[in-house]
Subunit: 330 residues, 2 copies
């Protein structure tokens, strides 16, 4: 383990520890048990790490930003609980989703409660412009909801453009990472120049992150990935890869891509073949290469934004984090 | 119209006007259309009126508290949208509920977005301790969710006590009215003594309000009420009336009450008869009288809390509001 890996692990443990102590309610049992279930389910804790490192990168401390870092992870988990209801997902991080383990009504309320807990946790931040923090945090919430609504609307459409896709993932994933970076800068009392640089870092990192997610769906090794490879293809999700392939594919390839865009049902026995067929299309039309280039390009832009900051260890670790996410296997 | 009625109407119009201008998003259409649909659907605007009058009652102005008053109405509407999903309700204020007019996924997101809009609106409050306001607001959110979760849990139980019922409605309804009063006092820079008095006013008013709701279910005139009279009985809702009747009824009366507690299905042709039978039980065992006494007792306590405030016109109007709610017919 390198020093940065150890620190990443340390950040994660701090946030996990905080998350586990937050829910003290007992009645009704199913509500609070489910809240604890969600907050103890692990996760990469990228948003909190970005927030806390951004705080350090402008001269603040981790202890100042731990509450906000925890809050942003709770917000992220709130979105996952509600998204899983909407997508009728069965499992998340290897465990049943909240609405499957309990029921939809409970999951709905668990999400709402988590959001309240997120705001309360954020308010524990000391010595900061709390109005500005709540404002940024709320903008993050609204963007994520809007992104999710666009994602749902795209499901019913077959004419989504790559540009519209970018706008959607920007809201659904990018902005919350950008908000995390900006909140960290605000807590660390960064200058407006530093805050802008970190926001930009977060935006590009968020883009790279989501694109990488799209790529991993077809390029990952099932063992590392923890999900079914090709899941996006089988669900007809409008990913960057699918939309670009829809623009380029011709003949039989085009027919296959159109079938996925229209979410034609696939029999269980045909699934594996379809995924490998589509992956081959992505490869032959240069879509996979383009996706990888886009990840690299966005990661480089994120790193370039960091150049505008003072050289501190946290700044170097943000760079390390961006590169690590670019090379991740799950 | 008396002066206070005119002012009440004026408050309502101010809030309605503000609510209608808040949602400017356009895409996806169904998300923002549904948000506008909710915020233009009217309502008594009791929470905002309590908040703005409480601000005036400690020497603040309505213009200072309009944003917070609007925010608390949005929060209230957020809870209605999500509650309607959970209860699978068909209509609200004479119009289809959001999940019926659109779908459950959209309604879920509409609620989440409204909550974000509520926080943003609250943040527009000037010259106030914004951290404290957000804290109170968030406590209100958490209490409402917990109250709703208890309400759902009670549906599956037949052994709910009147005491547990009180705890549930206190959270589900009482606290948000108390929070409204307290927030108004904070914005108006009331002393801690004044703030405590207004919080107490809100708590008792909230209790009286919910009990009155329970009573109206059986005593209202269908024309004024706007809902089916006896709806709570037919749904087997654990109201104060039902729980008290369960303690007191004997013989055949007891059997009927137990059937409702267990939510035994009722055929369409039997509904009217059942409602009138149960209403008669409520009357004969003194449950209706007790309910009315409780409404009066809580309203008096609310009014008594106001005595600790300076005599201002807003204080007198809060008293008027409490009495008006006690005598309402819908």
């Amino acid at each position: 383990m390198t020093t940065y890996e150890r620190r990443f692990e340390q950040f994660r443990r701090m946030v996990d520890h905080r998350l586990r102590s937050l829910i003290r309610g007992t009645e009704p049992e199913e509500l609070f048990d489910a809240c604890r279930y969600v907050l103890s389910s692990g996760g990469k804790r990228i948003r909190s790490t970005v927030l806390m490192l951004s705080c350090e990168a402008v001269g603040g401390t981790v202890s100042e930003s731990l509450e906000a870092g925890t809050a942003i992870e709770i917000m992220h988990n709130f979105t996952l609980v509600h998204d899983d209801i909407m997508d009728n997902a069965n499992s998340r991080r290897g465990r049943p989703t909240v609405h499957k383990r309990w029921d939809v009504n409970n999951a709905l309320l668990v999400g709402d409660v988590l959001l309240g807990v997120a705001y309360h946790t954020l308010l524990d931040t000391r010595r900061a412009n709390i109005g500005l923090l709540v404002d940024l945090f709320t903008s993050g919430l609204l963007d994520v909801c809007e992104g999710q609504a666009l994602d749902l609307a795209f499901e019913r459409r077959t004419d989504v453009s790559v540009r519209q896709y970018y706008r959607m993932i920007e809201k659904k994933t990018g902005r919350l990472i950008a908000v995390a970076a900006e909140m960290g800068a605000v807590i660390g009392r960064g200058s407006s120049r530093e805050t802008a640089a970190l926001r930009e870092f977060g935006l590009y990192l968020g883009r790279a992150f989501q694109l990488q997610d799209d790529l991993l769906d077809v390029t990952a090794d099932e063992k590392d990935f923890g999900k079914v490879v090709g899941g996006d293809i089988l669900e007809g999700k409008k990913t960057f890869l699918l939309l670009r392939a829809a623009e380029r594919a011709r003949g039989d390839d085009k027919k296959i891509i159109d079938g996925i865009l229209k979410r034609k049902p696939v029999s269980a026995s045909d699934r594996k073949r379809l995924v490998s067929r589509v992956t081959s299309i992505y490869r032959r039309y240069g879509v996979l290469d383009e996706g990888e280039e886009e990840v690299t390009r966005n990661t480089r832009k994120a790193i370039a934004a960091l150049e505008r900051l003072k050289r501190r260890d946290a700044t170097r670790m943000l760079r390390w984090l961006a590169e690590r996410l670019m090379n991740r296997v799950s």
